[in-house]
């Protein structure tokens, strides 16, 4: 597996706060990596170091295996992207393209292609009149114009309305490079990321392929909600074949998981639970098999984890 981004004990300390504290993260080449963390987790600071905007206090990083002159290998969309507002999108992209070394027909093709891709083709107005969504999209086009190996996008979708979010998500999905983007909207990550990094209070709590992480945090359990506590009690009397966890939050609900003899997996839990419910003819308000989502993993991790020295 080729690694696109790797950090070694990377830290950034501002006077008293460690914005980023000794993180070691790695993003495989070709991954669409969701970079998750609550406000103040250190996402922006990490990205700014990786693109060369600020210098690490200690530690280091490599992009595509290189430790130096990495700025040319990356593209970057800042959390609040700014442009020359007196220009149009075409003019701005042309400027970026020319400075990156594109000329003549190549420049024109690339600009056209990008404007098409981000849905700004034919928009003649100056950037000063753009909506946030348009700015975000122009920012992405700018970030990839010189075909960087890795693209860092800082909260590209957080401030957008549902339509804008769908558009930008679609663009990110079709970037064809390694992408690392920060967000706190987990459903978007669920949809488009095959890799996640979860950060909190300056530390990396978890990182890996989305599927692997979900597997790691999956639990063999189902939750049954009855209409009343009596039904629940009736069920519990005959439930020797399950591990039971009563939920203090809801007296009519119970969390169960199948025991060894049936094989510990969600399918068995579901199968045997439904069978015994049918046998007892108990009405059930809700039956669900616990599925670990990034949401639940994120909450579990960030509630318990993080820095312990503050």
């Amino acid at each position: 597996m080729e690694i696109a981004v790797e950090t070694h004990e990377l830290s950034k300390i501002y006077k008293t706060t460690a914005a980023v504290a000794n993180i070691n993260l790695r993003v495989p080449k070709g991954a669409v990596c969701g970079f998750l963390g609550k406000n103040g987790a250190g996402k922006t600071t990490t990205m700014r170091m990786l693109v060369g905007l600020i210098k690490p206090t200690s530690g280091g990083f490599s992009i595509m295996g290189k430790n130096e002159n990495t700025t040319k290998l990356v593209g970057y969309l800042a959390d609040v992207p700014e442009f020359y507002s007196y220009m149009s999108a075409v003019e701005f992209l042309n400027l970026c393209g020319k400075i990156s070394g594109l000329t003549g027909p190549e420049l024109k093709t690339r600009t056209d292609e990008l404007l098409e891709k981000v849905g700004l083709k034919g928009v003649k107005t100056r950037i000063s009149g753009y909506s946030r969504g348009m700015r975000q999209r122009l920012g992405i086009a700018q970030a990839i114009i010189n075909r960087p190996d890795v693209v860092f996008l800082d909260e590209p979708i957080s401030a957008l309305d549902p339509v804008g979010r769908r558009d930008v998500t679609h663009i990110i999905n079709n970037l064809e490079t390694t992408v690392m983007f920060s967000t706190h909207i987990l459903s978007d990550v669920e949809n488009i990321c095959n890799y996640v990094i979860i950060m909190d209070k300056g530390k990396v709590l978890e990182q890996g392929w989305t599927a692997k992480i979900k597997e790691k945090y999956s639990r063999n359990a189902a939750k049954i909600t009855f209409f009343n506590p009596d039904d629940k009690a009736a069920f519990l009397q005959t439930s020797g074949k399950f591990n039971i966890k009563e939920l203090s939050s809801d007296p009519t609900a119970v969390e169960i998981s199948s025991t060894d003899e049936h094989g510990e997996n969600p399918e068995n839990t579901s199968k045997f639970a439904l069978a015994s419910l049918a046998e007892l003819a108990l009405p059930v308000k809700n039956f669900s098999v616990f599925e670990s989502t990034l949401d639940s993993i994120f909450y579990d991790l960030t509630e318990n984890g993080g820095r312990d020295n503050d």
């Binding site: 992207p81 400027l95 400075i99 070394g101």
Partner: protein, 259 residues
């Protein structure tokens, strides 16, 4: 160097579209008309006003208007109002880009900080030169119209070049301060502070004579009237060196800047 040309073009677009050019042109153009008029009519207006007020003007001998005052008035106005306009219009030029991150976007694409600073300077320097040349031509024209007497055109151009050099010094200082400091207000404050300090230094006998501030006052008049001062060479040299140092310093700071 190719990037310099590309970015220079962007800067030219910028000074046109953000009205930088227009405002400077209006200020300089305005004074090029106003100054000869003031020089010609100020004494008449003054005595007329005093008359109207019933004051006795008998003992007050106002000198007759003289064509040299037309030029003096213009350079005086440029040295004050022109410089103020330049400071106010330039305090944000660098800072805005550094703060918003547009500069960094350009650096990431391969623009060298040196080319960035130089392009900003060059575009405005050329604009100032053109505006100044047009303005002094207008001063010349109006002075002839009002006084029917003028200095040789060649002298006028040489003296305008000295004033230009002074404005470039102000401009390079503004860029330098913009790279060094974090807020527009402090940049402006520092510039006005420098200006006052320069006026004070300008009053010191020998040192004052070779400081850039002399290029906005004494030197242009000397050149205008065809007098060759021993200080001319030195004041030009000092200004050129200071401009170069400020620009190189500016590029250095920008290169190592963390925003």
């Amino acid at each position: 160097m190719t990037n310099f040309t590309i970015f220079l073009r962007k800067e030219i677009t910028e000074i046109i579209r953000t009205k930088w050019l227009l405002v400077i042109a209006c200020v300089f153009g305005g004074f090029s008309i106003l100054s000869p008029l003031t020089a010609r009519y100020v004494s008449e207006i003054l005595s007329f006003t005093l008359d109207a007020l019933g004051e006795d003007t008998f003992g007050l001998a106002l000198p007759p208007p003289d064509f040299t005052q037309s030029y003096m008035q213009f350079y005086g106005d440029i040295g004050q109002m022109g410089v103020i306009a330049l400071i106010l219009l330039s305090m944000n030029v660098l800072l805005r880009e550094l703060k918003s991150g547009t500069a960094f976007t350009m650096f990431m694409k391969g623009l060298a900080p040196g080319a960035f600073v130089l392009a900003k300077f060059t575009a405005r320097a050329v604009a100032l030169l053109l505006i100044l040349l047009v303005a002094v031509s207008m001063v010349q024209f109006y002075t002839y119209l009002l006084f029917e007497q003028i200095f040789p055109f060649a002298n006028l151009i040489s003296s305008a070049l000295l004033v230009w050099l002074y404005l470039l010094f102000i401009l390079s200082f503004m860029l330098f301060a913009g790279a060094l400091l974090k807020s527009t207000a402090i940049v402006a404050l520092l510039a006005f502070g420098l200006w006052i300090i320069m006026l004070i230094i300008g009053a010191i006998p020998r040192i004052g004579q070779i400081m850039p501030v002399a290029l906005s006052g004494v030197r242009p008049f000397e050149v205008l009237s065809g007098y060759h001062s021993e200080y001319l060479f030195w004041s030009i040299l000092v200004a050129v060196i200071l401009i170069a140092v400020l620009l190189v310093g500016c590029a250095r700071i920008v290169k190592n800047k963390e925003m």
